[in-house]
Symmetry: C2
């Protein structure tokens, strides 16, 4: 029997390209695999499981016969086209922020709350934000045993979280500052160096240089001065873990790293949690890898994790002064588990259910 | 009347060089200013307030007639020579970790606990670690009004915290990765790029690349898996603020930034603290600068702060879920306020007392 028919909407974008890699690296459980993109990209040929597939233009007809559609497109495109696809009976798995906090849309991490994927009154399942996703597999496992109550998180986010343009900007700036070793040593010398290389700040995604710098703002500024990214970490963590009153404080910071988000996590639980027990529990998780032997320089870093599927955890330790509290450093590839991979894993869940 | 005689021990090192700049940029309140260094650097000429001064070799005699000596040398040099100078009646202001946690040695931040400098039974005053110092002026001011009870801190530390060799390593790596724009995009490609440029990891201060990466370990690994840097943040914050039971959790991370440490701070107080009141209090502090209008892209970044004296505070906001708690992002030049400047300010305090 042929498997369900899969569509990938946004097949030629930054995350869509990673999704094609993931589709090709996993078992082919699908009937047809259809690639959909904007008119600009329609007609392109992309290899899927050894066969060239022609990208078709996004339209109502494009979803005909499709069972599950993965959306890797901007919020406003998902908002418009997600319901159109769902109205045709397609199960939409959406990687934008458009539906994540909608109470009728489940927000799913397969390791944490797979059962939620079954209840989708709008025919839409949302994929979480990449920063939240980075820590969910590890925290979900600990929460199941010890009940998470509080989270204080500081992020070290890769520029690719802002799309391919983020990588281009960091690459251009790195090249510029490499030509002036004094850059970054004194106030605003990075800006001056960039400017002397023809890179104007006004053309950048960011208001200040990101090379040899860190930028303590990701997303837009919301009420109370919190960033949209910080609110996503709070609200999505609560929804995924199913803890309505989880206390969350997040500070989201962009760092000059190309791929992989890192998080310094201070996690408090309802009951006493020993480091050895937490480590044993994390080691049991199929999608979590412990890299935790700092004496021997074993800890996860974003350059190491980039391109890999699991969540990597290191620096696990008992907080000295806060009861029932662990400190850990979590790193995940923001383009894979943080985006395309988790979306694909949700589709696999739905496929198993439809089978 | 001539002012007290000042000696600078370690005049030719990374922090010593910044100290010479600071001495030259401040009012000359001193009688003699003597420059002391190892035998290797003795004989060098350095300009102090318009006159060339010859560096003399570190010895017992070098302290003759000196009233105050600033030590910017490794721990073991301070440990040996600090007491020798103090035995001659010299007030030693030491920037190493050798004496910081000694109960008979005050640990001083002039904006926070200047009165402690007067009680120095060993004749030694210690200057705090640069990471702790980055946040003390701001937190000290808030603590005076609202009583700090808990701190959760994640750091974004510049490579110059590891000395001039740290800057050299980042500069060399940045130059290497700039020649290969794919570096950092996949697992361990940064290492491969460095290796292809003749930069071997074994020659680095760090076990993995720091360019296009972050390293979640600063200092050595101590009991419970905490790093020496994380323990310093905890123990020194408690001592400076005079809060014996302050709850502190720190995660110290190195980032590819040349100068200035940044800290994401989650600070809880004994009483309700409104953001507007906290902002007004911080704005009153002569050594704190608020850069906090994120809607208009105003927030502190290390590249901006490098070379400047004050502590810069931005992203000040009320925690959504934690009572009496503020979030703030604090940035300070780790070579200036984080090291040389604070040491010099302690010397000014002592000079005023001796006058």
């Amino acid at each position: 029997m042929a498997g369900p028919n899969l569509a990938l909407v946004g097949a030629t974008g930054a995350v869509g390209t990673v999704m094609v890699d993931i589709i090709n690296s996993r078992e082919n459980i699908w009937g047809e695999i259809r690639l959909i993109a904007s008119a600009r990209s329609a007609g392109k040929q992309i290899e899927i499981h050894g066969e060239m597939v022609t990208v078709v233009e996004l339209s109502e007809e494009a979803f005909k016969g499709i069972d599950i559609a993965l959306f890797d497109v901007p919020d406003e495109v998902s908002e418009h086209w997600g319901p159109i696809a769902a109205a045709q009976g397609v199960v939409v798995v959406d990687n934008s922020a458009a539906f994540r906090m909608n109470p009728e849309v489940p927000l799913v991490v397969p390791e944490v709350n797979p059962e939620m994927a079954k209840s989708r009154p709008l025919g839409i399942i949302a994929n979480p934000n990449c920063t939240t996703l980075t820590m969910m597999a590890a925290l979900g496992a600990l929460h199941r045993k010890w009940q998470l109550t509080e989270l204080v998180v500081a992020s070290y986010q890769a520029v690719s979280g802002a799309g391919a343009a983020g990588i281009d900007q960091l690459t251009a700036e790195t090249s510029a500052v490499a030509q002036n070793p004094e850059a970054g040593l004194t106030s605003d010398s990075v800006s001056k160096t960039l400017s002397s290389q023809g890179l104007e700040q006004s053309d950048s995604l960011w208001p200040v240089p990101i090379a040899l710098n860190v930028i303590p703002l990701a997303g837009s500024v919301k009420e109370g001065g919190h960033s949209s990214e910080e609110l996503k970490v709070r609200n999505e963590s609560r929804k995924i873990l199913g803890i309505k009153d989880l206390k969350v404080s997040a500070t989201c910071v962009r760092v000059p790293v190309q791929v992989s988000h890192s998080l310094a996590v201070h996690a408090t639980f309802a009951s006493d949690i020993a480091v050895a027990d937490a480590r044993a529990e994390l080691e049991k998780q199929p999608t979590v890898v412990m890299m935790d032997d700092p004496q021997n320089n074993v800890f996860p870093t974003p350059a190491f994790v980039a391109g890999q599927d699991p969540t990597f955890v290191g620096r696990l330790r008992q907080s000295l002064d806060f009861p029932n509290t662990l400190e850990l450093f979590v790193v995940g590839d923001n383009l894979r588990k943080g985006a395309a991979l988790n979306t694909y894993e949700i589709a696999e869940l739905v496929a198993a259910e439809l089978a």
